[in-house]
């Protein structure tokens, strides 16, 4: 018998609040201990706006002190979102001046296009997608403008061949910039063609300016990949993003089918749709269709690399399936088994040894029965 988890249920109801197709929320008046736990999870999941909405609506019954605490958390989250948008506009100016095309991913672009009100969608950083040909130039541009790259590449040019993104931070504002050249790590990030996504950008308005974002089809794919592949247990905001898109936006069905075929996305969409139903309790027609998609056995195995095998180097190993030539596979393996010392030091500051890294890799191979890739 599963023990009832009223705090978990309330968090799920908050994340689904106001969505069409959502189950009715269960009225909840937390005691002090429950509120402490719920408030921490509301903050962690960045759903303060939806929690304020739930309290205004009345199913989340808070006393005056609890309500004041929640509003303070929400004001802080909104203030940070505005800081991040200021940063985004400064970066857009830098990139435009340098002639670098880009698209804003997630965060501000989703808040201002998919949600009824941007205050319902908090975010903590800036995510930008640039063309692979511009990626290293953009890293250098961020560097000369005071941003410190948070982790070096395993080997020079690794990211433009095999990687996903790098994190850059200006110590004066402490806002992370996730600079992407593709949407996710591993085989799915290598299968998709970010150039196609960037060829279809459309504008959204922020601070009186037009900024480029992915079109609805590209954004839907992005939020679905983020939800299905971004972490072992998807966070609630990416699931909410999917539901917002499924309820209110119109991805191009022909383009989506084409991408599903060429980019192996059936399993990604199916997994994302299932998570929305199971975690948020939301039933939407588009997502029901995605749950019926057929997924190849090989893709099923690769999806495990992003979930149950994630902690055991699953994604790094699975990427081999999407690297086309033996020569490229060898370069990939070499870069990860014999990375630069500075990469090792950044990964393992207390014990940056090749011996330790190789031993762990061997353990992974043994654990996977000697199968590399799919």
């Amino acid at each position: 018998v599963t023990k009832p988890d009223p705090v978990g249920r309330a968090l799920s109801d908050i994340a689904a609040f106001g969505l069409p197709g959502a189950r009715p929320p269960t009225s909840f008046a937390p005691d002090d201990e429950e509120w402490e736990a719920l408030r921490a999870r509301i903050l962690l999941q960045r759903v303060t706006g939806l929690a304020v909405g739930s309290a205004e609506y009345g199913w989340l019954r808070l006393d005056d002190g609890q309500r004041e605490g929640l509003l303070a958390d929400h004001r802080d989250a909104m203030t940070w979102s505005v800081y991040v948008e200021q940063k985004l506009l400064r970066l857009a100016g830098l990139l435009e001046e340098a002639g670098i095309g880009f698209a804003v991913l997630k965060g501000a672009s989703v808040a201002h296009t998919a949600y009824p009100e941007p205050c319902l969608r908090s975010f903590g950083d800036v995510d930008l997608l640039v063309r692979t040909a511009d990626y290293e130039r953009t890293c250098a541009l961020l560097d000369v403008n005071g941003h410190i790259r948070q982790r070096p590449e395993p080997r020079p040019h690794f990211e433009v061949r095999f990687g996903k993104a790098s994190v850059h931070k200006d110590p004066s504002d402490n806002i992370e910039i996730d600079l992407h050249r593709t949407l996710v790590l591993g085989p799915y990030g290598l299968w998709i063609d970010p150039e196609e996504l960037l060829d279809r950008v459309v504008p959204f308005t922020l601070g009186g300016r037009q900024l480029p974002r992915l079109d609805d089809t590209g954004m839907f794919v992005n939020v679905a990949m983020h939800a299905a592949l971004g972490s072992e247990t998807p966070r609630l905001v990416p699931l909410r993003d999917i539901a917002e898109f499924a309820a209110g936006c119109e991805p191009d069905a022909r383009v989506l089918r084409d991408w599903c075929d060429r980019w192996h996305l059936n399993g990604v969409l199916r997994r994302a749709a299932r998570q929305v139903r199971e975690r948020l309790g939301v039933h939407l027609a588009m997502l029901v269709e995605f749950e019926r998609l057929t997924v190849a056995a090989r893709d099923e195995r690769l999806l495990e690399a992003y979930s149950s095998k994630r902690g055991a180097g699953g994604i790094a190993t699975a990427a081999l399936a999407a690297i086309p030539s033996m020569r490229a596979k060898a370069a990939y393996v070499w870069a990860l088994t014999v990375p630069r010392r500075q990469f090792l030091r950044a990964r393992m500051p207390s014990n940056a040894s090749y011996h330790r890294r190789w031993r762990r890799a061997l353990e992974r191979v043994r654990a996977s029965g000697g199968r590399a890739g799919a």
């Binding site: 979102s81 200021q86 205050c119 009186g208």
Partner: protein, 89 residues
Amino acid sequence: VSAPTFRRSERALWRRADADVVAALPESADVHRLSGGAGAVWWALDEPGTADALADDLAVSFGVAPDALVSEVSACLAELVSIGLVERS
């Protein structure tokens, strides 16, 4: 001479936080919290209007005579114009 019209700046970055508003200009180092009367004026600016028209709207909301609010609304608008969140034309 007609009375000036006030409108929210298109450049303002802002968020609702319950009845309050968090707002800033893109290039500003400051993020402002508009609460109480300032928040109410911001919401009244959903539609551009003169100080008198805004005071009329707010008077209905607060259940007071418009004359009692005109000077406070005007002072608030002047402050919002000075920090660039509101434009006057």
